[in-house]
Amino acid sequence: MRETILLVDPDSLHREQCAAWLRERGYVVIGPDVSPVLKGMAEIDVCRIDFIVVELSGVRLTDEIKRTLRKLTSLRKPDGFPILVLACTELDHGDDYQLDLEELGWRFVFYGEEK
């Protein structure tokens, strides 16, 4: 069975490129149109999703964003198993940023160029 990924990326061009990569590797990718502050993430159809990949390159971790991200952490499929979440960023936001995300239980990947 092919896994379905919800790809959350406020940059639509970037989202299409990443989605194409994932589709090439056999994943089904769906992606909502969300604003840069991730509004519109509240209502997600969890039945269809196996993983969530959130692109956070241009996103500052404000309290509002953290609240939204915390909600994503507790999502569960109808069969009782978790929906795992991956945060990725091309920009180095610093150590605290990564630690904040990992405290939420997220996996984190930095894919920009190392300085």
Partner: protein, 174 residues
Amino acid sequence: MAKKNEFARVIRQVRVMTGEARRLRETGIRLLIRHRFWQRGECLPGEEVLGVWVIYRRREFAVPLSLRLRLLTDFLAAHRHVGQSAGQIAARMNIDEFYRRHGTNAKTKALMSSGMSRTAIKQQMMRLRLGFRLALKEARLSIDPTKIVISESTTMNEVRYRLKASVRWQHSEL
């Protein structure tokens, strides 16, 4: 335009998550059960079930369980490949030397547990799930505890209980 390998690390991490999700479904969460007052050789009566931990992403999360619930978890873990009714569990635990002589290597009666009853076990299963819920919350792992402490229905109204997890026991002298 995206560079050729821009998303390679993302893809790799997605593959890891795919494996992790598959493992969770197939074998359940990873548990560590620690026994102490061990006296060399194999696991024997007289030891204490010190505690139960959920292992997730290389970290340990204690499952807050009372003495009875620790014993029940230990029993379910040791018999995790077969579902048993509350009556069967109570009967087996009440004659099992490991649970009857629990903690006696410590030369104290404080670690001894009185016997289990069928009705008590039904109640304990709910409390056991609550313990797992708390540990999983701490671990930020959103699994329904009923997928760990599983109730299996039978052709009659009897319910069988089974623990779905991969379990490792660790022994120490103190």
